[in-house]
């Protein structure tokens, strides 16, 4: 890829001018054959708000975009490999691995696309990490993973990678509706001393630069995201936490009810986009 020849400094200075004006028109095809839907008609609940939903991929530089187009270049895939080992490793008092109950990781294709999701038996909306920890503690007799930390986020990346290309399709109605509404309220709440909401940056200003950052719609179809900035996989709640902190606000914690609600709502704003994680972002 010829863009890789550009030095980092040139890319840094060229970026704000070269790409100002919104999402680009590139197409995301991974490994030459996996087509990713990165622009889609907005789901109905966004009527009058957004016409089109757009993956954060379109707001990154060509160099960063290229890293996601080939699994050998995508640093996030290293962690997916680690998760495959974890998937096959028996743990806990029951001596079971994920594979013992679920088969191959590929058998989980489609799962990531519908989370967070209402769990009837538990009477709660669960994120993928909550569901994984339920398996660990109740079926394996193993310890719960820490929210958004290494093992958990690697496994989310594996679950995401086997669903890549499938449309995000998170349910907003029925028993999930109440938490969804709570997430929506949070999305539009102007927090902190800067009094900014998610919508102020990601709905009103996507496509604009805020200092050196090209604002995207803040979609989470690409999560976990490998960020060049911290050279690791980042979870949705950790990303939310960073954004809330940047409004000079007291943040919520990864795994908190507020962030579960917000994840449900933000995920539903991306209904119709492809599952894309692990993505690469700056």
């Amino acid at each position: 890829m010829k863009f890789k020849a550009l030095t980092a400094a040139v890319a840094l200075f060229a970026a704000p001018m070269a790409f100002a004006g919104g999402a680009d028109d590139d197409n995301l095809v991974i490994n030459g054959d996996l087509e990713i839907t990165t622009k889609a008609a907005a789901p109905q609940h966004l009527d009058g708000v957004l016409d089109e939903v757009i993956s954060g991929w379109h707001f990154r530089s060509d160099e960063t975009q290229a890293l996601e187009m080939d699994d050998f270049d995508n640093p996030g895939m290293i962690f997916v490999d680690q998760a495959v080992d974890q998937w096959n490793t028996a743990e806990g008092s029951e001596g079971k691995s994920c594979a013992d109950c679920h088969g191959a990781p590929e058998d989980m294709a489609g799962v990531k696309a519908v989370y967070p999701k209402w769990n009837e038996a538990a009477g709660e909306v669960r994120t993928l990490q909550m569901q994984m920890n339920d398996c660990r503690t109740n079926r394996m007799g193993a310890d719960a993973w820490k929210y958004d930390a290494g093992d958990a986020i690697n496994m989310v990346a594996l679950m995401s990678s086997v669903s890549r290309g499938m449309p995000v399709n998170v349910a907003t109605d029925g028993p999930a509706a109440e938490l969804w509404q709570k997430g929506k309220d949070l999305y539009y709440t102007r927090t902190g001393q800067l009094e900014l909401s998610c919508a102020n940056c990601h709905e009103d200003n996507y496509g604009n630069y805020i200092r050196a950052d090209h604002l995207s719609q803040g979609q989470i179809n690409g999560f976990p995201a490998y960020r060049l900035k911290n050279a690791k996989l980042n979870g949705v709640h950790s990303r939310f936490k960073g954004c809330v902190r940047d409004t000079r606000a007291e943040t919520y914690s990864p795994g908190s009810e507020e962030f579960i609600a917000l994840e449900l709502y933000v995920a539903s704003r991306g209904n119709g986009l492809s599952v894309e994680g692990p993505s690469v972002r700056n």
Binding site: F13, P16, A20, T189, R190, T191, G192, Q193, L194, E195, L196, N200, D204, N205, N208, Y209, I210, R211, A212, L215, K241, V244, R245, D246, T247, R248, A249, E250, T251
Partner: protein, 159 residues
């Protein structure tokens, strides 16, 4: 004497308000959101105002605004209007009101209030993500820093 002088310097560094300053809670906005009176009674230092506008830890105004006179400082954002010439079509009173609390001029503006200390939802301790110590936050800019920024904005005559 030395001690007193040091304390004064430290207060300055810490950005504490002086007794003569108009406190954030006592701002007098007119019906258009302008503030007629200087917040300090002292002339603003335009050069310092320029620094504040470019500094990430102070105004960080260029995060949202493009200003040709500050083009040496990277990077300028696009969230707000470009400010070239704003000193020609806005008065000092209007600019003071906008910088102190832009929402009094532009209802619902995304521009943060730089001289406001309470009435926030989940206020934090700066950019730490933690809860603040008291129930009032220090304003993002001091009264004199607001005056300095206004003085600089008034130098932006050509747009």
């Amino acid at each position: 004497m030395r001690l007193t002088a040091m304390t004064a310097t430290m207060a300055l560094v810490a950005g504490a308000a002086f007794a003569a300053d108009v406190a954030p809670g006592d701002l007098q906005f007119d019906e258009y959101g302008a503030i007629e009176e200087s917040l300090t009674g002292m002339a603003g230092d335009a050069e310092n105002g320029a620094k504040i506008m470019a500094s990430k830890s102070k105004g960080n105004c260029i995060a949202c605004h493009e200003v040709t006179a500050l083009q040496d400082a990277p990077f300028h954002g696009e969230v707000g209007p470009m400010l070239d010439g704003v000193g020609g079509y806005r008065s000092a009173a209007e600019l003071r009101g906008i910088v102190a609390n832009a929402k009094m001029t532009f209802e619902g503006s995304v521009m943060p209030a730089f001289y406001k200390t309470k009435g926030f939802i989940r206020p934090g301790d700066g950019y730490t993500g933690k809860a603040p110590a008291g129930d009032e936050l220090p304003p993002i800019l001091t009264a004199q820093e607001i005056e300095d920024v206004v003085a600089f904005l008034l130098t932006l005559q050509d747009g």
